[in-house]
């Protein structure tokens, strides 16, 4: 029952935070530019078009009124029209959301699968050659620009070795959408060939995002396990002869997992940040590539829409992580 209260309290924080985000984006898009209407209309717009836009979006009204208008617009899904595609920004963004999420989720899974065991083993065999190698690699991994890693991997695997495709999400059309995740949809439809193809396209972008994330996971998993290793219950279980493998893989790992969950929000944030450039390199048709194209086109509405959507998605994910953590750690109850 206490979990419910906790969850509700956390959910209650979401609207103000989202509102705050909207305020920030509003300030950036409507307050900072000398002439917001001109920015939104684009470089090639005529004076008449700019004035028309100004009246249409009420940009000549006082700021507080504009803000209210802006919020109501956003809530009804109206984020302006993309200069580039001439479609509503909102629909453009929503259609690209699944691609980015598929990438992000795949990357988190891979990062945990790589990072968690490495972190545990690294801590168990502290200062061994393996541990030192792992630490060196993670230090380098965290210092690498994500886009550079993407280009390097692309150079090696796609261009030189030709194992993975250079760009894109699929060759031709993807599976008929159920979830919007090509891999999942292909599986659900029993289309093994398509499943394989979509995996091949997913592989390199996922790896690029997953490696720095894995480095982060290794670091704090290692620290967490080292901390737990010196705790009294580990000593007690050893003193009472509980088999070491049970102590490590049942008790210590559980503590490490909880610690990992705490940090997943942070890792996810880095992933989203990395997705922008990684999608650009691999022409992965997600939010990140959308942002890049919009920047190239100076597509103002699109960029602001991207900021709102991405920010909101991140806030929601963090909320879910918070709730999950409260559920899993009995001391919170």
């Amino acid at each position: 029952m206490r979990i419910l209260v906790l969850a509700l309290r956390r959910v209650a924080w979401m609207p103000p935070t989202l509102l705050g985000l909207t305020l920030i984006v509003f300030t950036v898009s409507h307050v900072i530019p000398a002439d917001p209407a001109r920015a939104m209309a684009g470089e090639n717009a005529s004076t008449a078009q700019i004035e028309a836009l100004r009246t249409k979006f009420g940009l000549d009204k006082p700021l507080p009124q504009q803000f209210v208008r802006y919020v109501t617009d956003v809530l009804s899904g109206e984020m302006g029209v993309s200069l580039y595609s001439q479609r509503p920004v909102a629909s453009d963004l929503l259609s690209r959301l699944p691609a980015t999420f598929e990438l992000a989720i795949a990357a988190i899974i891979v990062a945990i699968l790589i990072g968690l065991p490495l972190g545990v083993v690294s801590a168990l065999y502290r200062n061994s050659p393996l541990d030192q190698a792992v630490r060196l690699v993670t230090i380098a991994g965290l210092a690498m620009a994500a886009f550079w890693l993407a280009i390097l991997l692309q150079l090696l695997f796609s261009m030189k070795l030709a194992i993975t495709p250079v760009q894109g999400r699929i060759d031709g059309w993807g599976p008929d959408p159920i979830t919007g995740f090509y891999t999942v949809d292909a599986l659900l439809r029993g289309d093994w060939e398509m499943f394989g193809t979509s995996l091949r396209y997913l592989a390199l972008p996922t790896l690029t995002l997953a490696l720095p994330a894995a480095a982060t996971i290794v670091r704090f998993t290692r620290a967490g396990v080292l901390n737990v290793l010196s705790s009294n219950f580990v000593f007690y279980q050893g003193a009472m002869g509980i088999p070491r493998r049970i102590v490590v893989w049942k008790y210590i790992l559980r503590s490490a997992l909880i610690g990992t969950l705490t940090q997943i929000g942070l890792v996810f944030g880095n992933l989203l940040a990395g997705a922008v450039v990684v999608e650009t390199v691999f022409s992965w048709p997600g939010l990140g590539q959308f942002a890049y194209n919009s920047i190239l086109q100076s597509d103002y509405n699109a960029i602001m829409g991207f900021t709102l959507i991405t920010g909101s998605a991140f806030i929601v994910v963090n909320l879910l992580v918070d709730i999950a953590q409260a559920v899993l750690d009995p001391r919170g109850r």
Binding site: T17, I24, V25, I151, N227, A256, N270, V281, T310, F314
Partner: protein, 283 residues
């Protein structure tokens, strides 16, 4: 503690310091150290996309400019952006955090809520929006980075100030009649200084990465500014043949960020007392 452990730790500090020192030296002495200092702005299309060789140590880019020289001048830019953006963020965020943490009034709480919103979103997402609005220029990049970084400092210092606020030495200082400003600056601040220094160092590395990403996306300074991220972006269309074009700036970024991270880690080991670190217990 075994010899290896100590060596690795000290080595981190050593390597980090060396790298950053080299970076500063390169930035300051870019002109004499470079082979073609004029290639920052000038170019020579006849020499475009040449591989590394005797004349052009790291090859040339699409405009025929010497990559090595541009890299050196790019170091100046990198330091400028990292130092200024981080410093501004610290200078704004630390006082805000101190005041908010000390007074715990509604104004401070409100500022913290604002900070939370900024922190609720990945830095680059907001930085893109701001940089796009302001236009492509180095000072706009710095502005965008500072504007999205100060909330981190405000939050950090707020939390630390709050916990220090209840310590006995603060009560004693107040009892002896010290003004709030005195307590904040002369008593609390020195105690959290080591944490600030360590994170500033590591933060510079992170700032460089975000700045490079902005440059890669085309939001940084316009060409022909030798910004490392932009150079990598330019190289994309000439891959895989002109591999050196992408490799050199990338390695530069890697080394510099690693340098800051190692330096920060080393400083943490030197500055933080052992006791504080072991006080945090995992579940």
């Amino acid at each position: 503690m075994s010899m290896w452990r100590r060596l690795l730790r000290d080595r981190a500090l050593l390597v980090g310091t060396v790298i950053i020192a080299l970076l500063v030296l390169v930035a300051v002495f870019a002109t004499p150290l470079s082979t073609f200092p004029e290639h920052v702005t000038a170019f020579d299309p006849a020499q475009r996309l040449k591989p590394p060789g005797a004349i052009f140590w790291l090859g040339t880019d699409r405009m025929g400019a010497d990559i090595y020289s541009r890299l050196l001048f790019g170091a100046r830019l990198t330091i400028l952006i990292a130092v200024v953006a981080t410093t501004v963020a610290v200078l704004i965020g630390v006082p805000i955090g101190l005041v908010a943490g000390y007074y715990r009034n509604w104004f401070g709480e409100m500022l913290m809520r604002v900070s939370d919103v900024f922190l609720a979103v990945p830095q680059i997402v907001l930085a893109i929006a701001i940089a796009q609005t302001l236009g492509p220029a180095i000072h706009n990049v710095i502005l965008a980075l500072s504007a999205t970084y100060w909330p981190f400092w405000a939050r950090l210092v707020y939390a630390e100030t709050r916990s220090q606020r209840n310590e006995i030495y603060v009560e004693a200082a107040i009892a002896m009649g010290a003004s709030p400003l005195r307590v904040m600056v002369l008593h609390i601040l020195p105690n959290i200084m080591s944490s600030i220094i360590v994170r500033t160092t590591i933060g510079m590395g992170g700032t460089i990465l975000v700045a490079a990403s902005l440059g890669f996306l085309g939001l940084g300074a316009p060409p022909p500014t030798p910004e490392w991220g932009r150079m990598i972006a330019e190289s994309r269309e000439f891959l895989p043949q002109a591999w050196w074009y992408a490799t050199a700036p990338g390695i530069a970024i890697l080394l510099v960020v690693m340098g800051f991270n190692l330096l920060g880690d080393g400083l943490r080991d030197v500055l933080d007392p052992r006791i504080r670190r072991s006080a945090n217990r995992a579940p």
